[in-house]
């Protein structure tokens, strides 16, 4: 497990003449700024339009200097905007999403850790085949699984419930979490496990005392990956839940559809930002660890 950040990299630009160094730095920062504009533009546009009066937007489009700014659309979006026949804003869908994403993330991560541990550190006959089966799950298109899931949810009485979505996302996520964790644990020296076995520790004790304390980097990766994936997924949410039970992304799908009635773009922009906020915060806060963990786990 190479520590990515402590690596003292060689910097070809630190030698050579001063002028060359200055021009190359200028080019580098220039390019970075250009790219940043490309990357930040959508966020900036969303943010700006979430505070512009609707007339402005309708008249001059989304890209314009706002004539006035107001936070009222945010209040509306959170509390009173009409979505899916009720006018309570996105607040309760937001809560639904939390209720769905948090448990599904936790369960799939925990199971992924255990699976990855069992598959990588207790290699038994057929472990590779099992692993192959599990990874196949990563690639199944969601549209294909809609009807079978409907059948399954119906038969176990979880139609139109958040629990049903938790179940789906957990099982779908297992593939990813197992893949990540297993690859990550491959880098944990087998000798540690051997030493612990000689020390008299069993399967669970080794997991708890040796593996788990080593896992934070990969836990961060799976949590971020799962949470954003589940939070942003809309097809299952749309099809398997309705009304008050919908997660926020599904509730906001109205955006893309050919809904009728006048569009309150500013309120929608505010709602969209709200809906994107949790994954965004997670990425901004955990991005560094995400990248580090990902390279330790995924790229093998």
């Amino acid at each position: 497990m190479a520590e990515v950040d402590t690596h003292i990299e060689f910097d070809p630009l630190s030698t050579g003449s001063l002028r060359r160094r200055i021009t190359s730095k200028a080019i580098i920062y220039g390019l970075l700024v250009l790219f940043s504009i490309y990357y930040l533009a959508p966020l900036a546009i969303l943010l700006m339009n979430s505070m512009r009066p609707l007339e402005d937007i309708v008249r001059t489009g989304f890209i314009d200097i706002p004539s006035s700014l107001s936070s009222q659309y945010w209040v509306e979006a959170w509390g009173t905007f009409c979505i899916g026949g009720t006018c309570e804003g996105v607040s309760r869908f937001f809560m639904n999403s939390l209720l769905m994403a948090v448990p599904a993330t936790i369960i799939s991560t925990v199971l992924g850790l255990i699976n990855g541990y069992a598959l990588s550190k207790w290699r038994f006959k057929g472990a590779d085949i099992l692993f192959g089966l599990i990874t196949l799950g990563v690639f199944l298109p969601a549209q294909m699984t809609l009807l079978p899931w409907a059948f399954v949810l119906g038969s176990i009485g979880l139609s139109n419930t958040i629990s049903g979505l938790v179940l789906i996302h957990t099982i779908q996520g297992l593939s990813f979490t197992t893949l990540f964790c297993r690859n990550y644990f491959l880098a944990v020296p087998d000798d540690l496990i051997k030493a612990a076995r000689i020390d008299g520790a069993g399967f669970w004790r080794i997991f708890r005392r040796i593996i788990l304390p080593l896992s934070p980097p990969i836990i961060i990766v799976t949590v971020i990956w799962q949470f954003t994936g589940i939070w942003n997924e809309f097809l299952f949410g749309t099809v398997f839940t309705s009304g008050a039970n919908q997660p926020i992304t599904s509730a906001l799908v109205a955006f893309s559809g050919s809904g009728t009635g006048v569009r309150a773009y500013n309120v929608e922009a505010a709602a969209v930002i709200m809906s994107a906020l949790p994954p965004l915060v997670i990425y901004v806060v955990g991005g560094k660890y995400f990248v580090r963990g990902l390279t330790q786990g995924a790229v093998k």
Binding site: I83, S155, S159, S242, A254, S258
Partner: protein
């Protein structure tokens, strides 16, 4: 205690408000109202319905249209409303064009909520006045008018391209040029008719009309297009009567900002392309929900609801026994009802292809693909388009 849970796609705006009214009335009558509003694409609603049926939780009531009703009826899972219908005498009051749809095999399985008219032409009063244009009655008039508008540097047709809106326009074109062709091709899915010269002519007319549009049609919503005409940026807008509700809600005035007339017809007389929103009932196990279905059906068919709902939605009631001069109906709506009656009398009433009132979804979808491609791709010739239309349907047969 009657309960219901209605699945529909009117998630926003005036439509959501209209459906909320239904809920209120249902509750006033002692029911417990629940609804599942699926926003966005129609596929989402249908996917929801399908998954509910597959999972064994078919919704008590679903908003469905046209031949789909018959299809679902065939699955044997729809509820029979004959008792309510008989008690309330639906056969007498429901527009005859609708009864066939609501009773696919002779039994009532659906309750119609409204009748929408598709073939409306909205003209910008200001442009008409400024350029001194008569509102066109035939397609030739229409083309002449457009030339004039274009010459004046304005956009002639406001349009937002999408398969359904392109097809909405084409509905009017085919219907206006040859009503028999419309019936054969669009209601009976007769592929010979689709290959006929009449269809080629219709496509040629459509091509002309695309030329009268600006190049911003892709990705534009129908509300934006509507506003273009209302704001006198474009001369004409071809769209169903839901426009009226939206336009009025947005503060535009009938006969001030816009004028509504039927889309051009080359054969003279009154024409009417119809859509009816309706609610289909699926069989339930829970007695509360069975009771709820009866109550909901009664509520929907009640004159009060028909009035409230249709005022909000811009359409006209599915019951023919309602006086539109009362209760806040607009002039356009009243004109619509009059045209409907005239059309029935003249035998020119048809159902809309674009809005899923004629052929099965699989044919309709295939046909809409061809039409929307034709609108988007000017390299396709009318002949090719006519053949593609027929081919697309033949594949699905």
């Amino acid at each position: 205690e009657p309960k219901t849970n209605m699945l529909h796609q009117w998630a926003q705006g005036s439509e959501a408000a209209a459906i909320a009214k239904l809920g209120e009335m249902f509750e006033e009558r002692g029911g417990t109202w629940e609804q599942t509003a699926i926003s966005g694409h129609t596929s989402n609603t249908l996917a929801k319905l399908r998954s509910d049926v597959v999972s064994g939780n078919a919704p008590a009531a679903v908003q469905l249209k046209g031949p789909e009703i018959a299809e679902w009826n065939k699955t044997g899972r729809t509820a029979n409303l004959d008792d309510v219908a008989e008690a309330q005498g639906w056969d007498a009051v429901v527009a005859p064009e609708l009864t066939a749809v609501m009773k696919p095999t002779g039994n009532w399985v659906a309750a119609p909520m409204n009748i929408h008219r598709v073939n409306w032409l909205y003209s910008s009063k200001k442009i008409m006045d400024d350029l001194d244009i008569e509102i066109p009655k035939t397609w030739e008039d229409f083309n002449t008018a457009c030339e004039k508008v274009i010459a004046a540097g304005k956009i002639c047709i406001a349009h937002g391209a999408a398969d359904w809106s392109d097809t909405t326009t084409f509905d009017s074109v085919v219907y206006g040029m040859d009503i028999d062709l419309y019936r054969k091709a669009f209601q009976e899915a007769d592929t010979d008719a689709m290959r006929s010269q009449g269809m080629i002519d219709a496509f040629a007319q459509l091509r002309k009309m695309v030329g009268y549009m600006d190049d911003g049609i892709n990705g534009r919503s129908w509300e934006q297009s509507m506003a273009m005409t209302m704001d006198a940026k474009a001369a004409f807008f071809l769209m169903g009567d839901w426009t009226v509700a939206s336009a009025n809600a947005a503060g535009y005035k009938e006969d001030v900002d816009y004028v509504c007339t039927q889309t051009p017809v080359d054969w003279g007389g009154n024409g009417f392309i119809l859509i009816a929103d309706s609610v289909v009932f699926f069989e339930q196990k829970d007695q509360d929900y069975i009771d709820g279905q009866k109550l909901l059906a009664e509520t929907i068919m009640s004159p009060e609801f028909q009035v409230t709902f249709n005022v909000a939605k811009g359409s006209i009631p599915a019951r023919t026994d309602i006086d539109l001069s009362k209760g806040g109906f607009t002039q356009c709506q009243q004109k619509g009802l009059a045209d409907l009656k005239a059309s029935v009398a003249e035998g020119t009433l048809v159902r809309s292809l674009a809005h899923n009132m004629t052929v099965l979804q699989k044919f309709r979808g295939a046909m809409m693909e061809v039409i929307t491609e034709y609108v988007a791709d000017s390299s396709i010739s009318p002949e090719e388009a006519a053949n593609q239309l027929a081919d697309a349907v033949e594949i699905q047969q």
